[in-house]
Symmetry: D2
Subunit: 106 residues, 4 copies
């Protein structure tokens, strides 16, 4: 996201003095709650979904994820690159290509 | 995230030909599964958590969220700004300040 | 479930003195964590799943649900009957038959 | 639950011809969605929750769990007893007493 968007997420929380509610645990709960609302868009069908609703729920996931990063002082690029390095080792291209198996079954 | 990080997420999927598994529904399931693994870091305590584990699970949430954005051709800044505008209206500062109530109870 | 099975769930918790960890909030987290592990059995396919794994994860959901009922002194029959009455009103047969729509869209 | 309660859950689905939507995958999604709604009752506080709301969301979890058992022809007592035997071995009383650690850390 652009720095401007991240700033507007931060300002929203500050203006409402919601930082006090943003413990890491509460934000972890919030991410899973919003992720389940996103999943609800696909509860009974994988193809017939309401795009506007999907956008709103996905945005909620992203906002709480940013709040979580902020709360713990984490950098998205740093942790994603760290994890992608792990994933590269767990899912070597020659073994994982075209397969949805978990790494311990490859 | 930096464009470079986003590109490495995309390349990871392409190299493994995993796009075929990345339906919007499957990615929505994946986001909630990883979000629940993040929550597991806080299952029995809000203060005693393993930071390395937290980073890994949070990264998984971010990676699948990026995959979802890519799959539906969505722009994170656009949908977050749209949602933050809604949130501003649902949670006016003067009503929501310092309160964790849901908008329909303010 | 049979009373005997419920008793063995209770004894398991008592023997380990885990009641102290079983706050309603922690049990709510636990149910969602186990439910997401059940969903993981269907992450990439709706048909190709490991039945033994499904049974284990479903059992975990049921066990934590029983722990939650016990913690709050709730009766499964009572709350389910109360909710089914609500559902009957929200989803009248003549409107809901054969449709997966949410009640506010019927 | 009493057989009568289980029967009323089954009749509800039959009357609405909803069995067609009740694939194992859709029911697994449904359980996690309702479990997250239960968690939402504790999103910002572990002590200040709405008991009526808690009962309704917990009932939804129980109903979809019963639907899932029915769909796969599973017996709750059988799978819970199987899992409790596993748990007894994973969490021996002398090691697990009073500790919230995961079995691989005991």
């Amino acid at each position: 996201m652009k720095q401007e968007t991240i700033n507007s997420i931060r300002k929203f929380t500050e203006d409402r003095e919601w930082d006090r509610f943003h413990t890491p645990e509460n934000l972890a709960k919030s991410i899973v709650i919003e992720a389940a609302e996103l999943l609800e868009c696909f509860q009974w069908s994988d193809s017939d979904y309401d795009m506007q609703h999907v956008k709103e729920e996905l945005a909620d996931v992203i906002v709480y994820t940013q709040d979580f990063l902020d709360k713990l002082g984490l950098d998205a690029d740093e942790i994603v690159n760290m994890k992608m390095d792990q994933n590269e080792r767990k899912y070597p291209v020659e073994k994982a290509k075209g397969k949805a198996d978990k790494y311990d079954r490859l």
